[in-house]
Subunit: 461 residues, 2 copies
């Protein structure tokens, strides 16, 4: 089928975009891509395996290693032109046994749903018991100063704003408390921090994530607390400012460990040195199953290759799937890939013309976020009529994804699949991010949208 269109790779962009013939043929191929994706739930079954048989897979863990081997095995079975592992050295933090938290005060004792923030040091074996001081942001913290904070547990409790339509905006507006709260509170002698989970949802799940210590500040243990329990703790504090909070964790930082990016590709028929990358991140947080984050993106990106094979599409450029390791913790996989890629690019052996990451959850796709030039935006937006029948309406110039970001140095066009974000932070980084929260059709539509755009990029770039 593809051979009909191979010529499009070598003729001008104007012809591709404005030729009625070409768009008509493109629309036929895209319809076939969607039909195949929606009729054969391979991506969904892959996600089932990754979530229910392997589960949460933080970099350095045995589950992450299992995920690497499983991904390679799936790729090996797809009849691709090349499947390989790219070595990556990752940090290996382990949560240890389930964390404990409880408040004791005037009205007795009550447990709180908490979990350690990724990378946190452990508490002493006996835990930490101290008074709590609640703040909404770093300015409040600084105003209180060492006198009010030293020897206490700082409780960051600024809620995610429910008003932004795209929930990543609300997340971005509250996540500083998790990412830098321990570092900031540590400056003033706090014993630990407990941070309201970065989600607009009202639930009982602590939502974890990464954070950073500063070399110049003594590290202190860091916890997330569920939004419902954050509300409760705040209420308790109003009635009983002297209450005591007990926190216990036993996190372990192991030595760095070997791991891999997993790569599989269909070699281009006429321009094999020009790469169109599709990918997501194979690691996930250890709690939950990493279903939406980012099992969905992994199986959708693999599905792009499967769809091309199933429909006998032979791309002119190389279409490469990359399962990046360690997006959640230290982005070592992204760095290793970008470094190796730069060497190949500098020596003229390979060039990434486009890279697309799926890492915003497996809900209904709405469009693409495009990190490209104004001219590139025009070229991509010209394809909108081909994708609008599938509900792909949004083509925004904006950021892409953490794993592909460093390819920008090569001049690569960067793209992120944009999905409906309303439910995403209900699941994100929590025990609630499980396979059953992903709808098969929504997942398949995302894979098909990606494959459709790869088809267009291959023919029209």
């Amino acid at each position: 089928m593809r051979k009909i269109f191979v010529f499009t790779a070598i003729i001008s962009f104007q012809f591709i975009v404005f030729s009625g013939f070409s768009q008509a043929e493109d629309s036929v191929v895209i319809r076939k891509i969607y039909n195949e994706a929606l009729s054969n739930p391979v991506a969904y079954h892959n996600l089932d395996y990754l979530c229910n048989r392997i589960g949460g897979r933080l970099c350095g863990s045995a589950q992450a290693e299992k995920a690497v081997q499983w991904t390679k095995k799936v790729l090996d079975g797809m009849g691709l032109d090349s499947v390989y592992l790219q070595p990556v050295t990752v940090e290996h933090w382990e949560r240890g046994p389930k964390e404990k938290a409880s408040v004791t005060g005037k009205s007795g004792k009550r447990n709180l749903n908490v979990c350690a923030i990724g990378g946190s040091i452990p508490t002493p074996v006996s835990g930490i018991t101290a008074n709590v001081i609640e703040v909404k942001n770093f300015d409040e913290l600084a105003l209180l100063g060492k006198e009010k904070i030293a020897g206490k547990i700082v409780f960051f409790n600024r809620a995610a704003d429910p008003r932004p339509i795209y929930t990543f905006e609300a997340y971005g507006g509250s996540v500083d408390q998790r990412a830098r709260g321990a570092m900031q509170a540590g400056r003033f002698g706090a014993l630990a921090v407990i941070v309201r989970s970065a989600t607009p949802a009202h639930d009982n799940f602590p939502h974890t994530g990464n954070h950073h210590y500063a070399d110049s500040v003594k590290a202190i243990p860091a916890f997330c607390v569920s939004t419902n329990d954050a509300d409760s703790l705040s209420l308790f504090l109003k009635n009983d400012p002297k209450l005591k909070l007990f926190l216990h964790s036993a996190c372990i930082l192991h030595p760095e460990a070997p791991s891999y990016n997993v790569i599989g590709e269909i070699r281009g028929t006429t321009h094999p040195e020009e790469v169109i990358l599709v990918g997501g991140h194979l690691d996930s947080w250890d709690i939950g199953q990493g279903a939406h984050d980012d099992g969905a993106g992994i199986v959708q990106s693999m599905e792009v290759l499967r769809l091309f094979k199933a429909l006998n599409i032979k791309p002119a450029r190389t279409v490469r799937f990359v399962a990046f390791m360690d997006e959640e913790y230290g982005q070592r996989g992204a760095k290793a890939y970008a470094t190796a890629s730069k060497l190949l690019a500098d020596s003229g052996k390979e060039k990434h013309i486009a890279a697309m990451e799926a890492d915003r959850g497996g809900a209904t796709p709405l469009g693409f976020s495009i990190d490209g030039t104004a001219e590139e935006m025009v070229r991509i937006k010209a394809w909108k009529p081909l994708l609008l029948p599938y509900g792909i309406w949004s083509f925004e110039k904006s950021g892409s994804g953490v794993d592909i970001h460093d390819l920008k140095a090569q001049g690569t066009l960067l793209i992120a699949l944009v999905t409906d974000s309303q439910r995403y932070f209900d699941y994100h980084h929590s025990d609630n991010d499980t396979f059953d929260k992903v709808n098969v059709r929504e997942l398949e539509m995302g894979a098909a949208a990606m494959a459709g755009l790869v088809w267009l990029l291959d023919g029209g770039w």
Copy 2:
């Protein structure tokens, strides 16, 4: 707030659409509507009550009566200008005790997940036990004819097509088996029908719905079977065509019963006789909780009024909420409303300028389906820039909703809220349609989209 804009009701459409000033002010109001909807989960709490305290509410049932009284009570508490009940006489079919179905054959006995189709007659007390003949459509049925069908149970097993993007299309392409299967099979002397549930989902839930007998054909009992069990039954039949299927139901058709449409309104300040209707249907099937179908539409439509009150918007036209009774069974509420409305319209006392129904589930809103003239489409599409920031991108000329359809005779502009349909038929008419399947933000976004469009219609029509 509204008084700034009251003048817009009496000046020309062109000014409204093309005046930058007016659209800028509209955009401020629409942002406030969304902020209020997303910050105060009143609609969600209402849905919680309707689903978890009242539950499934088929017309004529005690639950439907409870739903009427509860809806009236909620409206009474909203400070509206008028709240009233409109009497409706409804049919009252009752499912009776849980239906039973099992296959017995070479490989033993196996139960199937079935439920009676709404309006079905019961089986004899001892049930029906017979051989099964599987068909995909009415043509196949007619080809087999009386000789092959008489004395058997007909199994309609045409799967919903997974390929259409809008799942209502797949539903529409398979629902004839449920709606007319018993009537068609009855012509050829079948003893009963068992119909594959009209959903593209692969699940264990029988999905019920309505059907029709023909006066000229002997009525036979009608059942739906879950899609997973339909697949199993088909496989069993391939291996063992002589297997016996046992079906039992004990449905009751009670005498017709009194019920009500529930109505509440904010009277227009300058054109009270011009009505903008928002509504959904208060009844649901008896199984499940009628959360997506159509609890969501009910609480979203009520939320339109709440948002107007909360923001102190005083519409120029009357904004009327109608909770229609009996959409699922016989549409008696819609008929009663349309009949009464026609009398008022004919006598010049009232005119519905627009009617909007929310009855496509409580998932993320994507746009509106508009049953209007070409000129009306142009006028509405001119508002697209105001709603696109909220993901409302689709403005299609197409059908509206069963409950408002008859108002077309008055020349009323008819509109349906269009929501993401991917998950809808996972829930539709089954035990799976429960409160927990509705996401609070998705629900609120739908209510805000409706309120935004009502605001624009009030000012710009």
